[in-house]
């Protein structure tokens, strides 16, 4: 089936500009339209799996025009974005009733989705930057949506750091244009392949790593995330932690390093180092947290570390000309972990939102015994926690297992040990969540707590089913060869997968 690729951007963008015109009385209609848009995007993303396509906007062929490219990696990210945004939008239908100006929220939400879809589909680095700014600016506004002191402070901090990252990225784009004479990814990859790197391109690459690393919240660029993600309304936390840091950070970084600049041993070690630092620092910092959403935010840093570690290990093995099967396995582990983390971390943030809505607090020491009162929330949280901690039948186990196997086969036993150690760390922090939130004595002021109703439950239940079944993506060969394998081969093909798009 041939889908016009700009639909992924145009549909949410048009809806985002129509919705703010809806007043107070038309709020239910606005909510319905926003949900239909995210569902439509989900259908479109599922339909587009396995159909790589190139779209030339305005009929202008590259390098003159703008093109949008759908390949395996973009497809995987599109699927993750649309699954998480559909669930988060359904969750907001009821959750956001406690805020005023809901149509503005829906509009910003769809703007963010449009930006993320644009980032993963863009075929040239300047449009990647433009879409990245659309998504980032929408997310700055959404983080501060509550307009309370703490939320505005977090939003401001996020905005300053995010703008610095964007400035780095724009500077990098300018340097790449100056040194290669093109903004189109295929032509840049070709030019770099022909003339090799020079000082300008190396500087550009380091700016990209800092900029996208900041967007992905890798340690040492992570300082904004533990403030920004908990301050946002819960569905937005789910979007930010679930997909925004991956689409804007990890995807863009992987695309640039693997498909534009080409991998090298030094780059591979750099990514492995950043990944390990994020994994360990995020994991250790998360254990000490008492704020439910802040714990989840630190845990996001740790899990993004796994993804970057997998990609870095793959890059390292590719650059060392080791057995390509192990490089592919490491990248598969990283990408599968990315997809898993999108689903279970957004589910965890939704459960935290459900708990916060019912109890009015995020402080875990003030909670307890909610398991009997909120059975659905507890079940969703249990599935997601088991998955993130790597308990066997759940998908998080498989992605970590793949990473461990890849590390062992490549001979990096200490990396395998680190992966397992951080997994234990993750298990501890989620046992803590269950101990203090769902088990124990119900405090006297929470005696009247009841389970949330309506769309909140549907969103959590739907995402729980997806989370429980995610393991099938690697276990069933046909699913793996249609979703994950094309994504892996985009990265293992390296520069080749960009340059084949060049017009003859």
């Amino acid at each position: 089936m041939n889908i016009p690729l700009p639909m992924f951007v145009v549909v949410p963008l048009v809806a985002a500009f129509v919705l703010p015109a809806f007043g107070r009385r038309l709020k239910p209609l606005a909510t319905l339209i926003a949900n239909l848009v995210t569902l439509f995007l989900l259908v479109l993303a599922v339909a587009s799996v396995g159909t790589p396509a190139v779209y030339e906007v305005g009929g202008w062929s590259i390098p003159l025009g703008i093109n949008m490219v759908l390949d395996g990696l973009s497809s995987l990210l599109l699927l993750a974005i649309s699954v998480v945004s559909a669930a988060a939008m359904l969750f907001s239908a009821r959750y956001m009733e406690q805020y005023t100006a809901k149509p503005k929220y829906l509009s910003l939400f769809l703007l963010m989705v449009a930006g993320m879809n644009g980032v993963v589909l863009s075929g040239d680095i300047f449009n990647l930057y433009v879409f990245l700014e659309i998504a980032s600016i929408a997310s700055y506004a959404l983080v501060g949506f509550g307009c309370e002191h703490e939320e505005l402070e977090a939003s401001f901090k996020y905005m300053v750091l995010g703008s610095i990252a964007s400035a780095f990225i724009l500077f990098g784009v300018a340097l790449v244009y100056a040194n290669t004479g093109s903004l189109n990814m295929a032509y840049i990859a070709d030019a770099i392949g022909r003339m090799g790197t020079n000082v300008g391109l190396t500087l550009a690459l380091s700016l990209f790593i800092a900029g996208f690393g900041l967007k992905a919240a890798l340690v040492p660029f992570h300082a904004w995330l533990p403030d920004a993600h908990p301050s946002a309304p819960a569905p937005i936390s789910a979007m930010l932690s679930g997909v925004l840091i991956k689409a804007l950070g990890v995807y863009a970084l992987a695309r640039l390093i693997f498909n534009l600049f080409g991998v090298s041993v030094a780059l591979g070690w750099l990514l492995v180092g950043l990944g390990l630092a994020s994994m360990i620092a995020g994991g250790l910092l998360a254990i000490g947290q008492w704020d439910f959403k802040r714990l989840l935010a630190y845990s996001s840093i740790s899990q993004i570390g796994y993804v970057i570690l997998g990609l870095g290990l793959g890059a390292l093995l590719m650059a060392q000309n080791a057995n390509p099967a192990w490089a592919a396995l490491a990248i598969l582990g990283g990408l599968f972990h990315l997809a898993n983390h999108a689903v279970y971390k957004s589910l965890l943030f939704l459960t935290s939102g459900s708990v916060e809505l019912a109890t009015g607090t995020r402080e875990m020491r003030k909670m307890g015994g909610l398991g009997d009162r909120m059975p659905v929330t507890r079940a969703a949280c249990a599935v997601a926690s088991a998955s993130i901690a790597g308990v066997p039948p759940f998908p998080g186990f498989w992605s970590k297992l793949i990473l461990v196997i890849a590390a062992v086969q490549a001979g990096f036993y200490w990396i395998a040990v680190a992966i397992v150690a951080v997994a234990v760390c993750t298990l501890i922090m989620y046992l803590k969540v269950h101990r203090y939130v769902f088990l124990g004595e119900l405090p006297p002021d929470l005696q009247t707590v009841r389970e949330n109703k309506g769309s909140i439950l549907f969103a959590m239940a739907g995402l729980t089913c997806v989370c429980a079944l995610m393991g099938l993506l690697v276990l069933v060969p046909s699913l793996r060869s249609s979703v994950l394998d094309p994504a892996v081969s985009v990265l293992t093909d390296g520069v080749q997968s960009s340059t084949h798009l060049m017009s003859p």
Binding site: P6, V10, V14, P20, E56, V57, G59, Q98, Y99, C147
Partner: protein, 165 residues
Amino acid sequence: MKGMTVIVKTVSSWVKVLIFLFGIYIILFGHLTPGGGFAGGVILASSYVLLMLAFGRRFVEENLPSSVASKLDCLGAFLFAMVAILGLVFGGTLFVNFLYQEYLPGTPFELVSAGTIPLSNLAIGLKVGASLFLVIFALTVFRYDGSRKPGDSDESAGGTPATRE
């Protein structure tokens, strides 16, 4: 903010018309002369900024309420997207210049030429003018709020989108 002296008010009430007209000219002739939707939109907004400086915020708020401006803002973006989608409907590709290719070739350097580009310029002019006006309006609102004593926050500022109920 009561505005400035009567000299400034008189002069700016004459000049604002010229500035506004110049903005419209820049937008309409965007495909022929330097400028275009963005530059013209900035000029349109600047005529309101002049009014805001000369007459004060209240005067401008009565002339162009921020709710109307934000609707114009959305309308501009929506029209721009519509030009793109019409390209998909009539030309088969998003953003394709279907008017120029089939329906309205026009002669180069005339006002009616270049197909959909003047339409896009109009939409962008509306969008940029309205949103830049809103940005500056929001800045004056914040200044207004900052001049009050901390603590009395009865009236929610027009530029802040949401407060918890």
